[in-house]
Symmetry: D3
Subunit: 144 residues, 6 copies
Amino acid sequence: MTTERIATVAPIEEDQASERVSAVYNDIKSTKQIDFIPNFWKVIAVNPDLLEQVWGQLKTLMHPEAVGRESNLTPAIREMIAVAVSATNGCSYCVNSHTAILKKHGVDDETLGEVLAIAGLFNQTNSLADGFQVVSDVLPRLDA
Amino acid sequence: MTTERIATVAPIEEDQASERVSAVYNDIKSTKQIDFIPNFWKVIAVNPDLLEQVWGQLKTLMHPEAVGRESNLTPAIREMIAVAVSATNGCSYCVNSHTAILKKHGVDDETLGEVLAIAGLFNQTNSLADGFQVVSDVLPRLDA
Amino acid sequence: MTTERIATVAPIEEDQASERVSAVYNDIKSTKQIDFIPNFWKVIAVNPDLLEQVWGQLKTLMHPEAVGRESNLTPAIREMIAVAVSATNGCSYCVNSHTAILKKHGVDDETLGEVLAIAGLFNQTNSLADGFQVVSDVLPRLDA
Amino acid sequence: MTTERIATVAPIEEDQASERVSAVYNDIKSTKQIDFIPNFWKVIAVNPDLLEQVWGQLKTLMHPEAVGRESNLTPAIREMIAVAVSATNGCSYCVNSHTAILKKHGVDDETLGEVLAIAGLFNQTNSLADGFQVVSDVLPRLDA
Amino acid sequence: MTTERIATVAPIEEDQASERVSAVYNDIKSTKQIDFIPNFWKVIAVNPDLLEQVWGQLKTLMHPEAVGRESNLTPAIREMIAVAVSATNGCSYCVNSHTAILKKHGVDDETLGEVLAIAGLFNQTNSLADGFQVVSDVLPRLDA
Amino acid sequence: MTTERIATVAPIEEDQASERVSAVYNDIKSTKQIDFIPNFWKVIAVNPDLLEQVWGQLKTLMHPEAVGRESNLTPAIREMIAVAVSATNGCSYCVNSHTAILKKHGVDDETLGEVLAIAGLFNQTNSLADGFQVVSDVLPRLDA
């Protein structure tokens, strides 16, 4: 049997996981209501501290209801920010997975296009402001 | 009289502007309901084509009501994406100006913190996914 | 019949395009003198505002003759900047398409190598200047 | 006497330089026809290997005549690429110094604006192509 | 009394901190053995969830002894990675603070120069590999 | 016979190489103790100046023993910095090749995970510090 390469390291499959890793895997599946472990988590599990830290943070920020936290943002807005940042960094794994989640939240292609259009606009204006070394005019108002 | 340096080029002040540049300046002031021209626009006005193109795009995307366009996003969400991308790129001018606008839309510091927390989380996971070269597991679903 | 996945969204094929999208598609084909619509445009067409804005800007900047604009740069120089920026951002789609265009303008591999060498040099010196937090010594001269 | 901080390390002033560093400093001054050592070089001189390597590369690429090399690009084009990349990375030191050099080569503000406009456009389209994960359509032609 | 602006938001000073924020502040001071709260933490404290998450992760990764964790890296290596990444992103706050910590660990300017030289080299080669779209030759070996 | 496309340009194979390029190729093979030329070098060889410069710098920094240089870092630390920077930039070629080299130096997957965890943490905190525009508190100490 041949296994396709999914990363630069050997992923930790569910049936190989230590008790500590299994606990996180189970939390991922129940929190995200999915029945498999996405590649990202199987890969960072090569370092259990990393797995715990990143999952803890993603759970807190992207699944606030699971930790009894009040979020000021809707799930769709949170995913829009995720996709905008991932597009800016050109990370295909994160773009793919969070575009899929965004669609599950009912966001259509035209709206995704609007999100990416705004991200694109600011990637443009960021380089213009830095390229001309423009000095901020709004600092005083931020102090208020 | 001495003028502080605000960019690598001499900005086009309102009283120096050509008719073409003045038309954009007036549109900026009336669309944004402000009584001055922010440094960014005075600087990119050194190239009137650039000024027209970028203002046209920013007006369409960030002030859709001004062009009779329906946006699927609220003004606050649009600014959140702007700040998240600008934070990712480390552009101080854009972070400053769009944080100020975000606050005008009634977004408080804690919510700004949530936006930047999510941007920060994805800057982290983007580098992890790329650093381990994780292969996407969700492609088939995107085809649907 | 199966269609290969070319993006996270379903591209708008020419025979599916609305009148508004078709108008842009026709302009792309006649301006670029090509007989197909590249994937990039078919994809961003999911949001017609985005398609119009980005095409309008690319046409103005990269095909100035098509809008009766005087450019101070040659077509090859414009494409060199495009490739240098796309290499810096690691965007494979844009590197591929603009390298192809650069070659159409008669730029050979050795010259492409020189462009990328300079881009590489500045990616290096940028990180050194930022990594040591070097303060600018040339500001006064920019004021002049 | 107080010295302003110009970096995270103490720069190597000309009168403190070792013979090895002095040799590079003299080459910088004669190649660039300037009578002072810019901060960047005084700072990276804390590691003489670094100073020699980066200066050697910058001299070869940006001052080809000094090493008897044929360049396929003009000095102004080389500086345009330098500014476009530095704007993309938001490096203020490099933007400032290479904008100053670009002006010495007779490039006016409007043309600088055109260079930065193209850089800005591709920072935008790069994030769109990556944000939609658009698959390249021009690969076959690159093989030719 | 006037307070200098240190961020786009009002930092949470120690005497204003809620019990939850104070607990983190005390942990920061005792873990880092410092007697003040650095600006970064006072600023992200506007969102206590963010403060807790980022501090928890930084404590685990950068102060492993404080959580009883075995690290495979020395403190100096950890800080070198921090500075290399921060230089790549051009983040002045992080470059400044982690260069200071690196020096506390006894790393001299020449060695800092070597770290930044390697970071600079890879910022260069990264853009070259992406700019030429070079296909990996070592994948098979990673599978092993 | 068909050749797989490995870049946007035709690579220079060993049996096609000029004397100048061959000299570098031989140095690469003997310095790295490998019996083939990795794609990266075969590709940048389209511009022999580029090949010589980048190889010279990589040899000096990553193979200091080959040039009789004293390095203050171990081979494994140098490769960790290479991988951390390449992960930050999302460069798959460089991540792949330097992860392979890191493993040759005996670094296991868990330790690679720790390196990438720290890189990820700083990609996060960099965007937070820039996103809140936090002012440095440690400048005075750097002067010391």
